[in-house]
């Protein structure tokens, strides 16, 4: 599952291929949409959650509130079912999907980080990221990515900075699960299921943060 971007996406993978996948794009309702999506995927595949042997969740980078929905859901499933929970960079899943669609490296991936910035990373090929993901203004990285195709909603949002913007626009849990299955089968380590925030929290104390009384 992945909730690091506006896409709330869930897939079931049996080790060879994606058995079922569902998702919705809605930046404001991750919390409401995720569990029903899990339920749909399992129902479509005709299995119960307790037959799942492992979980992989997109760790972002992504806007925090939505990102946390997937992470805490995966962690809680893992605890309740006593199965391992793995993390995978959301940008890696997008890169992997782009590669399976035929895009050859090098290229870059960019998602919307809000505040007129993008989360981004460069890839040698669809399985190989160069360095850690960053968060920057499109104009500030346009030069470094000049001439490269850039995949994802963050690229499509800023065509002046990324003239060769491509799809897929959104991350798919099917690609995330397939990449995780591939890496696990190869004995490679995945990430811990912890968020890539890339920004420090805004330290603003709101006024009257919890005034809740009906007048």
């Amino acid at each position: 599952m992945d909730t690091a971007t506006p896409a709330v996406t869930v897939a079931l993978h049996d080790g060879d291929s994606v058995v079922a996948e569902t998702g919705q794009v809605d930046a404001r309702r991750h919390g409401e949409l995720l569990l029903p999506a899990v339920d749909r995927v399992l129902a479509e595949a005709g299995v119960k959650l307790d037959s799942v042997t492992g979980l992989v969740v997109g760790v972002g980078p992504g806007p925090y509130t939505g990102l946390r929905v997937g992470l805490v859901t995966a962690a809680t499933f893992g605890s309740a079912l006593s199965v391992p929970v793995h993390g995978l960079c959301t940008l890696d899943a997008l890169a992997y999907a782009a590669g399976r669609d035929g895009l050859e490296g090098p290229f870059a991936v960019a998602t919307d980080a809000r505040r007129k910035e993008v989360y981004w990373a460069r890839y040698e090929d669809h399985r190989t990221r160069e360095g850690e993901p960053g968060v920057d203004r499109p104009a500030d990285i346009a030069g470094r990515l000049a001439g490269l195709p850039v995949v994802g909603a963050g690229a499509l949002l800023y065509p002046e900075a990324f003239p060769d913007a491509r799809g897929p626009e959104h991350v798919s849990a099917g690609a995330l699960a397939a990449l995780a299955a591939e890496r696990l089968a190869a004995g490679a380590a995945l990430l811990p299921p912890q968020p890539l925030y890339l920004r420090r929290p805004d330290a603003q104390v709101p006024k009257n943060y919890k005034v809740v009384t009906p007048k």
Binding site: E32, D39, T76, K210
Partner: protein, 370 residues
Amino acid sequence: MADEPLVLGIETSCDETGVGIVRGTTLLADAVASSVDTHARFGGVVPEIASRAHLESMVPTIERALKDAGISARDLDGIAVTAGPGLAGALLVGVSAAKAYAYALNKPLYGVNHLASHICVDQLEHGPLPEPTMALLVSGGHSSLLLAPDITNDVRPLGATIDDAAGEAFDKIARVLDLGFPGGPVIDRLAREGDPKAIAFPRGLSGSRDPAYDFSFSGLKTSVARWIEAKRAAGEDVPVRDVAASFQEAVVDVLTRKAVRACKDEGVDHLMIGGGVAANSRLRALAEERCERAGIRLRVPRPGLCTDNGAMVAALGAEMVARNRPVSDLDLSADSSLPVTETHVPGTNGHGHSHGHDHVHEVSKDNLYS
């Protein structure tokens, strides 16, 4: 009794990650991880810091509660969670965890109201709530007088603060006196050595034409700050203990007076006091004194159950199970401004399917995105 409902409750509405487990009205576990220290230097709770801490603490706190209670999650009769009110991003971590837990274990889910939980927690200390119960809830986030004929589905607001919450006033005065955050415990401590009659600070909304059950602490706060600033401007020492005692007296005088009056007016012979400010020793003492004089039984849980915790959510959840209240759906959302009258958030069909309500008001807040 073994057939009383066994319920796990999750609370993440502010800066405490709380997971409690109760059987009926018996407390089995109360695990709390607090991020209060990380907020201290900002002088208040920073929502994003709180949300990050909730994510880190959620699963370890659930596991610790189960271990403390010595039960298996398979034996639970339900999962309860604070659906609101509170900080939107913080609530969402707990609601997501509760839904995942309920789904994975195939247990009924109850999204419940934070304020009703503050009242219901007293069942763990003093047994079943009398019906109706009068409740005074005072904390950094709320100051309300509530009449609760049935804690699971009938809670009526009689009055509330029209500006600052009582606990907020303590924090602000502590800031003016350079005493750090949170302000409640340190002011309580200093006030014990001060004279509560030294300075006559104003009692907000206490005139005969003022609303009988509403509170106002903003004018008091300004008045105390002005008094301190005048002393400083005159080059005199600020008598911190007397200021603390006199300020605290002004707050608890109004709180207890109005609460006792509400009991008399409504013919209720019990007063419950909850929320973090209920840990204040002077509030407890004065409430005790005035209730006794008025023939009212006072019920105040121990301080650890007054502040935000998971046990209070579990307590209300257990009552929901016991009274057969409808469960919440899988698309339960966090509602940062859930009205106190909505004691819980029942699903539309009980099967976890989507329904057509518009919950955008909850998620369209500024802190959705970093």
